[in-house]
Amino acid sequence: MWAIDLWMSTDGGALLAAAVLLPFVGMLLGLLLGGRWLQRVAFVLMPLGLALALAITAAWANTEGPLVYLLGGWSPPLGIALRADGAAVAMLLAVAGVVCGIGLFARADFGLGPDAPESRGAFAYWLLLLAVWGALNLVFVSGDLFTLYVALELLTFAGVPLVCLAGSGETLRAALRYMLFALCGSVLYLLGAVLLYGGYGTLDMPLLAGVVQPEPIAFAALALMTAGLLAKTALFPLHIWLPPAHGGAPAAASAVLSALVIKGSWFLVLRLWLDVMPGVASAQAAQLLAGLGAAAIVVGSVVALRQQRLKLLVAYSTVAQIGYLFLLFPMAFDAAGDMVLRDLAASAGVLQAIAHATAKAGMFMAAGLVYAALGHDRIDDLAGAARALPVAVAAFLVGGLALMGVVPSGAYLAKKLLLASADASGQWWWTWVLQGGAAFTAGYVVLVALRVFARPATPLTELRPVSRLSQWAALGLAVASLLLSLAAVVGPLPAELLAKAFSLEELGTMLVLFGAGALLAAALARRPLLGKPSSAVRPGLGGLGTAFEAGDRLVRQWPSAMLALLLVAGTCGWLLARA
């Protein structure tokens, strides 16, 4: 993918530097001006950033190969280059869109009225939103492993305070867990980068790709960096911090954390495995990543079905969806273990990541709106919510449907690509995981749908008003996810992919998935699907539900999570070396 001349800036390359720095400049100006300017600066930057992302897309479309920019005119290995290929451009554009949506949503919660003094929440939220944006853009376009380390730290330092924006003891605890675990992850990543420098004398990704050999030092480096990044992404069993952190933060912050922050470290795993060290990565080690992903899907989904609170359900759904993001790795290899299906797998991964970012942001916002309106988000007591809050509930359900892969959502197309790849490489077992994941997602969509459409025992009267702008922002993001595959085929992907999308066969698959999901929900949910909400708590399929919950609690304790981190690193290194 780096076939072009590496030592020249391309036309429009300076836009990459602008995309990284614009949010940071906004953050600095917001900090300087303070007060109402916090949100004003953010709202000026959102359209600017979106326009910049569109300009980068246009420049990329007019260039053969990636956009390149040499900072200061110094070429690697001495200098730092910014680069954007198709994946990076897609992520830049998607993040800009999601930030705009979240920003509109957050105006009701964190906007300051005229004459209002600067509040702590507004100060932290708007500045950190911009910081997350800048850090993510840097992750997508930076071509240097050390700059990426700084970018990852930026992302963590901006993400942690968002977790405890509410300031309660429980959220502070969640933030501290997140911080400490993420720090371990960054040190492991840095250790791997240091080993690579010791072995090959450069930190520039394309240069490394040219010289790196399948030898012990590269195995160790890739294993350590991968484990560190998985800890930051919260892939099962390293999701120690995710559910309390994403479940406890204010909705506008949860949306940032769940939709955006975890994508940074995930994207870096993708880069390392598919672009920097394709010769080092092995099919067997990729099976490990996808195996953890499959475990994440099962555990995350079952525990999601057992949750009592809507926000925690969404948080555990994120645990499962992160697993989905790692299924692409074995699909890059063919049956002989060579990485020949790289582009297919990478497209599917990026598409899935964008689909999740948009849908999950919408779902968290919807959950937050339900909480704000009803004063609680207990799933069992949501009867009548559909009538009371039609737009927010629609956002939640549309987001859920988009995630499970209903035509023409982005997740549908991503699943289609991965299924084709699994087919081509003869890895039939991943077909089951892919479809099973979709069925689980259907399960919790059905569960929530049945609750919100139920007739309330007493009519809901005491509703607090919620902002209409916020509701429509949530719905907008969810709908964007639902229509994502149309955008994808208008853009870079071939239109044939959608040729059979509306056929009877696809419809049949959807119905089967819904049926399977409903069965799963009926078997595993805390209370009977159609019974009275007051009925007793059930253990779920002969105790399986409670067993998963207990297992989840066990692996989310600090010592077990740390041991798991080292075991993942060790196993990954061993599998890489064995190939």
Binding site: G34, Y69, G72, P77, I80, S119, F123, A124, L127, L566
Partner: protein, 343 residues
Amino acid sequence: MTTIASGVVVLLLLWLALWTVVARDAFLAVAGFVVYGLLLALVWVRLAGIDVALTEAAIGGGLTGALLLGAVGRLRGTEAATAAEGAGAGTRALAALLALGVTGALVLGVLMLPEPAPTLAPLAVPALPATGVGNPITGVLLAFRALDTLLEAIVLVIALIGVWSFAPDRAWGGRPGPLYRADPQGILAYLARVLPPLGIVIGIYLFWAGADHPGGKFQSATILAAMWMLVQMAGLADTPRTDNRALRFGIVIGPLVFIAVGVLGLFTAGAFLGYPEGWAKPLILVIEVALLPTLAIVLALLMNGPPARPWASAGAPGAGPLPGRHAIASRDRPTRSSDEGGT
């Protein structure tokens, strides 16, 4: 001779690290870590990294150590409670095994490093004259990899935003850090009057020397920050409020000037963060001069922590159960105000 000296340093370092990790309580661990940090500076000298040694001594050992020591005093007996949650013997054994495995794998990696070692020094040396600075590390930090240095300043600002955001709502807008009270005639106040002028001179000297010799803005900023904190601890001047416009200007000036010079390079040198020929040294100087106050202020504020004193409701800052700062002659030790904290 030198190998023996290095061997002794290594043994001491490992022993201190182990002791710090297994020490009985947090205070001992932190005390061990402070000594460890000083010893580490020696390691850097032996590794031909005087610049790194200065940074490590100032920031890694000094500021981090002070931060941890300050934290140890405010644990309020939480140690006993968490000790009960300690890992069991089996977990500890497994942890030791896995940690040993990581060390073993790294040792193998180190022993298999290629010979001759890959290095960028032959590329950096001929490129250095174009930057106008004599110290190759300064050249890397402000020319070849200027983006990293810019990002590092931004990291510090984001960390400060994060730290401030941990403030309780009732304290928001107040002055960061505890209120220190000290006898105005006491020894600390004397020190805080005598030392800062000298410290400022030394700080600026280190800053100036950084262009051609070891030293530079970070080491200098640490000394300036320490001087400011000394003045605070002696009760001579409180920190400004978080919404103080001048303070915020000082925080953002460095990165903003850095970015502005970078954009200037886009038009004059054809590349963002580039310097037009012959102008490299003065522009680098402009950046460094702008970064110095930012770094000094942010480092000191990171040490101070979030605003924690309730002020909006209680009237004047510092109004609390303790008598005013001039009334206490017998308590000339720096005393944290007792009204911080509580829920």
